[in-house]
């Protein structure tokens, strides 16, 4: 394994992006293209008795209207096994809902209008009326009809109940994180073309294989006849991590009409049908002995979900038991079942909320113990995963904390809350918190071809959501091979080019970079063999030209530690074959420490964050430029999640009220102070062949807690329910 530091290279797609040349799914056009618009259900729950189509069909330009009757039942025998299936019971493939006549939530599509123009399709959709049998519904956790469903498994180590008996200081508090929606700039949308018995769909998705299988199962098509292309995504953040019904609808419409069909979901409708970060309530009980050793945790997390959604509160316990060396842990969870769409992954899906709760509790503990929050955390560091008893592949938490404290100037902090008030009354607070996130890995298959005429093409798993996966791959190739950067093409997110993993959970880089390194090594070996000891000057292109070889190609595959070769088969059929964070011999996590300064205005009490220092242990940094940008983005979003974002749901109607970018407030540039980023940058010796660990999610974990802790330090007021708004400190 080569462990040199990799250079800081600019984004390879930056030039196209700043010129507006990058093409997103809905930018693709095809001659004769039609437009499809979904008709949202105006009721929150019930049954469609009749749909009145006449007015819609009378709109000039409207060609067809499809209702649930026009869609087949999904193929019950369709299978797309995943890496997880062989451990657990065999789960059948579950296709996303498309157009329904039994309405599970407000806004669910009850029809689709297909027209020659977008305007006609919208007008047609607005002219559809229906008759419904309405049913009572529950849409918020506090609704009387909300069904509380405890999860089966309990996540335990040691004996928490007994250990609490020995604790001399206990914190027992409840923390809340609100419903939030992703709002990437690029709307959900797709363009489907059916030609010569082949379906090609340009979609905006982090999971092209998922879309392929959803279409195959829903429309009874052989997956081998479907190509899904999602080559540039205008932000995904987990919203696009799974297949939606709109992709199937576009495909079906293209097949039925024999013409290309584009569908774009307006933002207000995305709020109603896409996934979201569920509101969650975290009950944390944390006990320590008088020396500040944390010895017992009881943590129950509840969150909102649809009636059958699978997103499990058990996952809040993937990170928190591993933050510290705590011997006794008892974790539980409750699904709160509501008449809403499925809750889903949103950046740093579980640890963001869990670390907010847990790291706030740790701060409360430090305060009760009269200890410095940094000292308390350093004292509870450990190298063994208490849940599995296995060592961590690498854990540089103490390094993250001490480096962060040094850069931030933590030693200048005076401990008492409110003790750092400025002469003008501005309350200044310094807070810190840790975050962690599982470091998972996906197998990958890559084809690398270098030609004598100056081109290089790599086709590999992964989706470019703007996080920089293409740049990361390019950095490895350009570092290891003497090739022309201008002739380099990185092909990701295209099922016709290479098997595609679902790019989520931060395993994107771990799901393609080890294979890219391997491709480089194999290419070097193939070239050596080809040159057979001859010394040929120039780049690889020149060398190939000199020896009159049109091109040289290698194909490689890579699996995660401990993974059997079948993993590659799962990758091929479902795109879902991840491993980790628990591997046979170790547990692999990424770590971060955030240090935050907040300033609270004396009069109208606006909260500002002039600076943040974040130090990450993500193993070896593969692409410094895009890695730094990930940390900036994570901190910005944690700020936004803690101080700005909340989706408003009116329990009387079941709709999402602030469903546009003017009313759903995300952080803006003027909100953001200085963010200083540091990397431990020590290669992980075990996690994979290249020493990297995951980055994109961990960056957000814990930062919201650091903000809350800083607010407490500034004001003496502990805020436990996000988002913290102006009225909370008035």
């Amino acid at each position: 394994m080569s462990i040199e530091k990799l250079p800081d290279r600019e984004r390879i797609d930056a030039f196209d992006k700043v010129r507006g040349a990058t093409r997103y799914a809905a930018d693709f056009q095809s001659p004769g293209m039609l437009h499809a618009v979904l008709v949202p259900s105006p009721i929150a729950k019930g049954t469609v008795v009749r749909i009145n189509e006449t007015d819609a069909l009378a709109v000039p330009g409207v060609l067809r209207l499809l209702t649930s009757k026009d869609f087949p039942e999904p193929d019950p025998d369709f299978e797309a096994p995943t890496g997880e299936d062989d451990e657990d019971e065999e789960e059948g493939f579950s296709a996303p809902s498309t157009v329904v006549d039994v309405i599970a939530y407000r806004g669910q599509p009850i029809a689709v209008v297909i027209a020659e123009t977008l305007e006609a399709a919208i007008e047609g959709a607005e002219k559809v009326t229906g008759e419904y049998e309405e049913e009572p519904f529950s849409v918020v956790m506090e609704s009387p009809g909300a069904r509380r469903e405890p999860i089966d498994e309990e996540i335990t180590s040691g004996n928490a109940a007994e250990a609490f008996g020995r604790a001399s200081v206990v914190v027992d508090e409840t923390y809340v994180s609100p419903t939030q929606h992703h709002n990437p700039l690029e709307l959900l949308g797709a363009m489907a073309v059916f030609e010569d018995g082949r379906l090609t769909i340009y979609d905006t998705t982090q999971h092209t294989m998922g879309v392929k299988n959803a279409i195959a199962a829903s429309l009874w098509i052989d997956p081998a006849r479907i190509d899904v292309k999602s080559t540039s995504i205008g932000g995904g953040f987990g919203q696009k991590a799974h297949a939606y019904g709109y992709s199937v609808i576009a495909a079906h419409a293209a097949i039925l009409t024999g013409r290309p069909v584009r569908i774009v979901i307006p933002r207000g409708h995305i709020f109603h049908i896409a996934s979201y970060r569920p509101k969650s309530v975290h009950h944390v009980r944390l006990g320590a002995d008088s020396s500040g050793r944390m010895i017992a945790v009881r943590y129950v997390a509840e969150h909102e979900n649809s009636l059958a959604g699978g997103l499990s509160p058990a996952e809040y316990h993937e990170g928190t038991p591993r933050l510290y060396d705590i011997a006794n842990y008892h974790g539980g969870g409750i699904q709160v079942r509501l008449d809403r769409p499925d809750a889903g992954f949103m950046r740093c899906p579980f640890p963001h909320q869990a670390c907010f709760a847990f790291e706030s509790a740790v701060d409360e503990l430090a305060h009760k113990l009269g200890m410095d929050p940094v000292a308390l955390r350093l004292q509870n560091d450990g190298q063994i995963d208490p849940m599995s008893g296995k060592p961590y592949s690498s854990r540089f938490v103490t390094e993250c904390i001490t480096e962060g404290a040094r850069r931030f100037g933590w030693s200048q902090r005076s401990r008492a809350p409110g003790s750092m008030t400025a002469p003008d009354g501005t309350q200044i607070g310094w807070g810190m918190a840790l975050g962690n996130y599982p470091s998972s890995m996906s197998p990958a298959i890559a084809t690398l071809r270098i030609t004598a005429n100056g081109k290089t093409r790599i086709a590999i798993s992964g989706h470019e959501m703007g996080q920089g996966i293409k740049t990361t791959i390019a950095n490895v190739l350009l570092d290891g091979l003497d090739i022309d950067p201008m002739g380099l093409e990185v092909v990701v997110g295209d099922t016709s080019a290479a098997p595609q993993h679902q790019t989520a959970g931060s395993w994107g880089t771990a799901g393609c970079v080890p294979a890219t390194f391997k491709a480089v090594t194999h290419m070097q070996a193939a070239l050596r063999e080809l040159l057979d000891g001859r010394s040929v000057p120039g780049s690889i292109h020149r060398q190939l030209a000199t020896i009159r070889r049109p091109y040289l190609q290698v194909e490689v595959s890579e699996v995660a530690p401990g993974q059997a070769p079948e993993a590659l088969e799962y990758l091929r059929v479902s795109g879902d074959a991840t491993a980790g964070p628990e591997y046979p011999d170790f547990t692999s996590m990424s770590w971060i420490a955030h240090f935050v300064e907040v300033r609270v205005e004396p009069t109208t009490r606006r909260i500002r964050m002039p600076r943040c220092v974040s130090i990450v242990d993500c193993g070896r940094v593969i692409s410094p430029r895009t890695a730094r940008s990930q940390v900036h983005g994570g901190v910005v979003w944690a700020f936004s999640a803690a101080l700005r974002e909340a989706t408003e749901i009116d329990p009387r109607y079941g709709g999402y009220l602030n469903s546009d970018l003017a009313e759903y407030l995300v952080a803006v540039n003027a909100d953001i102070g200085e963010i200083e980023v540091g990397f431990v940058d020590k290669p992980d010796p075990l996690a994979n062949s290249t020493g990297l660990k995951n980055l994109g999610e961990v960056v957000m974990a814990g930062a919201s807690a650091a903000i809350a802790n800083a607010i407490f330090h500034a004001t003496g007021t502990r805020l436990r329910s996000m988002p913290f708004r102006i009225e909370d400190l008035l």
Binding site: P40, T117, T604, Y653, L665
Partner: protein, 339 residues
């Protein structure tokens, strides 16, 4: 498809006559407000009469009054150096509104006519862009009821509310103009008239759908602001949920006429908390003859909220409004000392 006609008259006379000859016609200037509402199906005009080529975009600061053409863009007015120097209240009110891109398009005349941001009003007209949602709203659909009362009302008004409507008048600029006793010049089917800006806005009462005292076809052509020395000691102070690009939770426009340290006359208006740009005469009255200190400012500010009627989630706007106004008074009076 519902057709929309579009025309570009080159004089005010032509614009008015085109408007009067089609029932569904309406004016459009920058379109930043109207086009949104069209997509949301709150507005459904049959003809758009683009008034950006009829003139009325000049800014004159030389006479005894400031005269600003209704078609001047927000960004052009905000960049005017004389206004920035002598009337920070005006420049700040413009720069703290919307975003640079919007201000480049939006006109200062149309700004006076923007409609409320109440989500039930905007997102309840059944548009596909709002996921087909239909909410009762007396402003949009007279007699249908008000979903905000008893609903999610954190951003609703606490002053000037009625049992039919609590929607906030969202603009910043109209608040500053109200404080400075500005007038508008109107050209319409029956000729020209002047109207104080404060006379443009109606309280919701039982008829929240009637928002502006403008007759059909009337065009705002000019904004006229009497010159006043208090402009030098003025500010528009805006508190919102983020540092930029958000409507006010509470705002205050303040301009003070001073004699030494004493206030001779105070201009005070509030935004973000009321159903129309809200003049605060009790506060103005109280301040006459006072020397500004923080306690005085708070006491004066409280008077403006004596009759506040908060709903379920917006009670904080009373305290926030008071503190915002008190801060504005302090900022304006600090400016006194530097000039």
């Amino acid at each position: 498809m519902e057709p929309i006609a579009y025309s570009v008259p080159t004089s005010a006379e032509q614009a008015v006559s085109e408007l009067m000859s089609e029932a569904g016609a309406c004016y459009v200037a920058g379109g930043t407000s109207l086009f949104d509402l069209m997509k949301l199906r709150v507005e459904r005009p049959s003809r758009l009469i683009d008034i950006t080529r009829i003139g009325y975009d000049a800014i004159s600061t030389s006479g005894s009054e400031l005269r600003i053409g209704a078609n001047a863009t927000m960004s052009n007015v905000a960049e005017n150096p004389t206004i920035a120097r002598d009337y920070p209240i005006l420049t700040e009110a413009l720069l703290k509104g919307a975003s640079q891109q919007l201000r480049n398009m939006a006109t200062v005349g149309a700004n006076l006519l923007q409609r409320t941001r109440c989500s039930y009003f905007r997102h309840g007209a059944g548009a596909i862009a709002s996921a087909g949602s239909i909410y009762p709203c007396n402003k949009r659909e007279p007699g249908s009821g008000c979903a905000a009362i008893g609903g999610l009302d954190r951003t609703q008004a606490v002053l000037g509310v009625s049992g039919a409507c609590t929607a906030v008048s969202p603009g910043d600029w109209p608040v500053a103009l109200t404080a400075l006793d500005a007038r508008i010049n109107i050209f319409g089917p029956n000729g020209r008239r002047d109207l104080p800006v404060s006379g443009l806005y109606r309280l919701p009462g039982n008829t929240p759908h009637l928002e502006f005292d403008l007759k059909r076809g009337e065009l705002i052509t000019e904004i006229i602001i009497p010159k006043t020395a208090s402009g030098l000691h003025s500010t528009y102070h805006k508190v919102r949920d983020r540092e930029s690009y958000a409507f006010a939770l509470a705002s205050a426009a303040v301009a003070l006429e001073l004699n030494g340290w004493k206030i001779e006359h105070a201009h005070v208006a509030l935004g973000g908390v009321a159903t129309r740009p809200w003049r605060a005469p009790e506060t103005e009255q109280f301040l006459i003859g006072k020397t500004i200190r923080r306690e005085t400012a708070l006491e004066a500010a409280r008077l403006a909220f004596v009759n506040a009627q908060p709903g379920r989630h917006n009670g904080f706007k009373v305290e926030l409004g008071i503190r915002t106004l008190a801060d504005a008074l302090m900022i304006a009076s600090e400016r006194t000392r530097t000039v």
